[in-house]
Amino acid sequence: MIGFWERNVPVFDVPVRTRALYVLTGLFLLAFGLVTYRELAGLGPVSGMNDAYAWGIWKTFNVMTLTGLGSGAFSVGMTAYLFGRWRLHSVMRTACLTSLLAYISGMTLLAVDVGRPWNMYLVLMPWKWNYHSPLLEVAVCMPLYAMFPLFLENIPPVLEWLHEARPSARPIVEKATAIMAKFYPLVVGLAYILPAMHQSSLGALMLLAGDRVHPLWQTPFLPLLYVWAAAFMGFSCVAGTLLFCTLMWKRPMDLDVLREMGRITCYIIIAWLVFRFSDILFSGKLGLTFQFNQYAVLFWIEMVILTLAAITLWDSAKLKNARMMFHAHLIAAIGGMMYRFDPTTLAFNPKSGAIYFPTAMEILVALGFVSFAIAVFMIAAKKLAIIPAPLSYWYDYENEVLAKAPEPQLSRPGEALATAQD
């Protein structure tokens, strides 16, 4: 189905309690039980981590990799607000919600992963910080971002729900909306500078690991490449989520917006690939890529996957093929995830002969926390106005029926001229 995304609307005609939701909740409850066991028994009995590979998938996958996917509010938002791509406003709520959930899920698991969580109150005491530590930057900046600007960015759908479903709350809602609108540029600015800082610091974390990280990944530009990867991963996550949701819940798809997102993702990936390859070329590491070992193979897999993603994104935007576009975003996300995961685990060599492979319990906990994020998204998208749709889908909260709305337009309202010029 094709239609212009004009407003964010709840997915009202799909039941909330689905089998998928029960499965996801079950997985989360299982993870919660395992976490209780971990808190009592310690990390050793639960995970495959050891002194050589001191960081396991809870940090390297759930935090380092998945917050990259959760960078949609950062990268899509920056394109919309800073670079003035106003069409992308229609997908901002999806971006903000996926980001918030990815961050909450990752940070909660981080608190499970650290050995002495009761000392984490120190994050509130700036005079006890080590200002030179990249980990401190992450530990302070990530919660600050999730609890302040990113949280505020997710308030409008809730206010709107209050406005529509609880008419008595309307005066308060109007006031809160006015205040938010006044300070929104300040909040939004923070919502871009903070992720830029901690997403790059995630890369800086691996700098201090020195020669444990294979030279093909260990570069002074690691922080830049990490935040850059977060930019296209964020786009792919938001576009992929929207494509999946519109297909699953049978919502109209706005191919103009999706094609624009696909093209922007493609540009970011190509620029990233060129930069990464030039860095390797000019630092004289090209020879390493032609050695016959797992690192060279891993490097080429990353490069090929992302090149394939860029080509597929471009073609799908050209052919207006939504299914192909979904696959392209999926490939791009996998490529980005691989790049952010590899320096921490697969291209991480502590030269001790020790190996790391996550235990079943470790994997179940990691999956459980991801399930939590997906489950909350599924509920929120059905209750709040998150997913974009044409005006004809406008929903009457009070009477729980489709409200009367203008007929769907044949050309994008107010943009007829701009489209004609394209």
């Binding site: 990390l43 002194d51 003035g84 990249p134 600015g189 020195g210 107010g414």
Partner: protein, 311 residues
């Protein structure tokens, strides 16, 4: 509202201005004078280990375990096993290097190197690992450690170890018997060494002693130098050896310390938070202008559809 190509270019220019401002400030920050290279504290103490003297008796291992209330790795069957590697059950171990071609073997003692600019201290978020400003001993404070294990990722010598069992894990590493130093004793390991292979002293004394041994025995020691004088920015545990240092597990780090080498840029970009603050201010200026246009557009939409604007 019409959204024309001209406007698109204009707002794109705004974003580009923000990026350019960031770039300029970053470049000027990176171009700063290099941070001064850290030197050893005035009263730095340490160990000098001479691999040519060590007989591998492991007296130091037993003395270390006793002084630090460690019982060794008894996990398997309560029979004490000689440790293969440093673990949370031992802060000091002796290893044997025996080359395949049958040439000269060597023992090597492993414990914290007490770096002059330690990577573990640089990475530690809440200063649980600190370098004593007087003695230079790198120590750990349980009440400040969140158990993130970044020290294990960062240490170029693979020294800090984590207790993987139990709800209240600790970081285990040699702290140069700081309790014994406080009461005027020397570290347990050096106090019992029958061959005087490991000796305790101030870093200056130890360096002088090492240089004297090298002078008196030309050609005996690898590269005629002590490992740790300048390696990785310098350490307070010094090594003399007749086999190449890297065979004994002492990595070739160059003269720069790990934090100096890898975090130089990061520290400059974040110095006084100048780059983030300028970037934020520039972005807000651009966003504010775009936001004004956006609200105007929203108002037009509201008039057209009669529905509340969505933020």
């Amino acid at each position: 509202m019409k959204f024309t190509r001209r406007e698109a270019l204009k707002s794109l220019g705004g974003g580009a201005a923000a990026v350019a401002a960031t770039g300029l400030v970053s470049i000027s920050a990176v171009g700063q004078e290099s941070a001064e290279v850290k030197t050893a504290p005035k009263h730095a103490v340490g160990l000098l280990y001479d691999a040519t003297r060590c007989i591998g008796c492991q007296s130091c291992v037993a003395a270390c375990n006793e002084a630090n209330n460690l019982e060794g790795d008894l996990r398997a069957d309560r029979i004490h096993h000689s440790a293969q590697d440093l673990t949370s059950f031992s802060k000091n171990i002796i290893k044997l290097y025996r080359p395949a071609d049958g040439s000269g073997y060597s023992f090597v003692k492993q414990q914290c190197m007490h770096c002059i600019d330690p990577a573990c201290v640089a990475g530690c978020s809440f200063k649980a690992l600190t370098k004593n400003p007087e003695s230079g001993v790198v120590g750990w404070t349980s009440s400040k450690c969140i158990g993130c294990r970044y020290c294990e990722i960062a240490c170029p010598y693979h020294i800090p170890k984590f207790q993987w069992e139990g709800w209240n894990p600790k970081i285990v590493k040699c702290e140069l018997c700081k309790e014994r130093l406080a009461v005027g004793k020397e570290p347990a390991c050096s106090s019992v060494c029958p061959a005087k292979a490991v000796i305790f002293g101030t870093r200056e004394q130890l360096l002088a002693e090492a240089k004297q041994r090298i002078r008196q025995n030309p050609g005996k020691y690898y590269q005629d130098r002590a490992f740790g004088e300048t390696d990785g920015g310098g350490t307070q545990a010094l090594y003399l050896s007749h086999v190449p240092f890297d065979k004994l597990g002492l990595p070739n780090l160059g003269n720069e310390s790990v934090p100096e080498k890898y975090l130089k840029w990061q520290n400059r970009i974040y110095s006084y938070l100048a780059v983030p603050v300028v970037t934020y201010a520039t972005m807000v200026a651009v966003i504010r202008k775009n936001w004004h246009d956006h609200q105007h557009h929203e108002k037009e939409e509201q008039e057209r559809t009669g529905l509340r604007p969505q933020l």
